[in-house]
Amino acid sequence: VNLKKGIECGTVCLPREGVSETVLRKALYWLTEACEWELEEGQGHWQVTLRGGQDGPNSCRAEFDRLLNDFLLRERLDQKTGHLREQITLAALKGLVRDDTGC
């Protein structure tokens, strides 16, 4: 990522306790290409620097916040229901194998 071009939108510091690396990287992955980012690992926090944006300097920050909040919600949902999702998927696959082999 070339941070020399684009307009700086600011640096965001996030506590590592509250934001997992997986959630953070998913949010950054889905940012539009118009937003450039750099991720640094600090003592107890993540530091994200954002630049660019098609609709002004704040658009990257707004999009990042929205994505981050959505992936935080998905992580929380997975903590509550992930075991059921796995149970459903395993039962579905077992059903397919049973139909296929007759066992």
Partner: protein, 185 residues
Amino acid sequence: VTTPAVERLPFAFRRLGDSPKYVATNQGAAFALLEDREQLCTLIDGDLSDLPEDKRDELLAKNFLAEASDRDARVGLLASRQATLIRQNLVAPSLFLIIPTLRCDHDCVYCQVSRVGVERAGYDLPLTAIDKIIDLIGAVQTPTVKIEFQGGEPLLAAPFIQEFVEKAGERLAGRRFRCREARHN
């Protein structure tokens, strides 16, 4: 009358464009519209008794929620529906995606697919693959077949597409088939 307590079943969600609404989907291929982020947060992390009664009933009917007494039955139902969806796609797919090239001469900001520069060699399907692909499609017993050419930029492989469409017209005679290209802008 006491309303029975309900619990969450797994689902996925995404926001609907710039609308405040969210769409939730589950493994049984059901979907439900959530009015706003507050309703989404309630469904994920809040007190489920705060949901409006009609929304709660809808989410129960579509297996986004379960009562403690019927949770296992609903999990079984979702598994059965998911198995049916997988089976349909394994046994009788009606949509075939063909990627004749990964080369691309565009740089679209939204693009998430694999692509390489237009001059790169070794990233095109050879014309000799056409017969094998049509054999495979011909072996699938569906009356209607849709073939979509993706990429890269599929039109960089125009000779492949032209030959494919001509041969498919001859060899899939009697089947309804339609071809389209996923072009980039």
